[in-house]
């Protein structure tokens, strides 16, 4: 019972996250917004979407 719940919850959330992350990366920014760069200076926070590591 617990194991089924676990696989459902985590497996489900994991797959949804991967799907959304993949879709999000492949949808181009709307036409007027390509050039908006966030005002934050070149920081080292990899989890931030603008960090170069996300778009190799």
């Amino acid at each position: 019972m617990q194991a089924i719940g676990l696989v459902l919850v985590l497996g489900g959330l994991g797959s949804v996250y991967a799907l959304l992350y993949y879709l999000n990366k492949n949808t181009p920014k709307p036409e007027g917004c390509e050039e908006i760069e966030s005002s934050c200076s070149g920081c080292h926070i990899t989890s931030c979407g603008h960090h170069p590591s996300h778009n190799e």
Binding site: Q2, A3, L6, V7, V9, L10, G11, G12, L13, G14, S15, V16, Y17, A18, L19, Y22, L23
Partner: protein, 170 residues
């Protein structure tokens, strides 16, 4: 599109495996954590009712959210453990108050108080303790001048415990 499904499947497997590892770790540590939980309170419970047999009361509902746990000390009375929002943020004062079956407040001890030194920690001073212990359950308790925020938070907590006690356990 097939790539997206593969990615989703991959992360699903990794998350499920992670869940498995967590279950394993949980089974290894769960009984020690529960033992610690009772042990943590036992030291303070002994201060009020030395040598009594303590039964944690589960599943009490309390909309103030201040009551952390309630223990029944044999037939001597009940002990409420509360965490109130004192001077330095939420849950900054943890204390215990005990109601005897004789209708008197049997004990009051402060477990932790992270309010300002010298002001907030007056709630653990002997004068404040003596002004509480021995009073009838439900009698009004006056706050300490100079540390109104902390002491009124404690008094508020005691009122919440009294309300719950009279409603469910008296």
């Amino acid at each position: 599109m097939k790539r997206a499904l593969y990615l989703a499947f991959f992360l699903a497997i990794v998350s499920a495996l992670a869940g498995g590892a967590l279950t394993l770790a949980n089974d290894l540590t769960i009984d020690r954590i529960n033992a610690n939980k009772v042990a943590a309170d036992k030291a303070n419970l002994e201060l009020i009712y030395p040598g009594a047999e303590f039964l944690p009361i589960e599943g009490f509902d309390d909309e103030t959210g201040l009551i952390q746990n309630i223990y029944q000390a044999g037939d001597a009375g009940y002990v409420y453990k509360l965490a109130v929002n004192g001077f330095s943020g939420s849950g900054s004062i943890e204390f215990m108050v005990a109601f005897g079956t004789d209708g008197k407040i049997a004990g009051y001890t402060v477990i932790s108080c992270s309010d300002t030194k010298g002001i907030g920690d007056k709630v653990a001073s002997d004068s404040f303790v003596n002004s509480i212990v021995g009073k009838d359950v439900g009698a009004s308790i006056d706050t300490i001048s100079g540390s109104t925020v902390s002491s009124s938070a404690v008094v508020g907590g005691i009122d919440a415990a009294v309300a719950h006690y009279e409603a469910n356990l008296k």
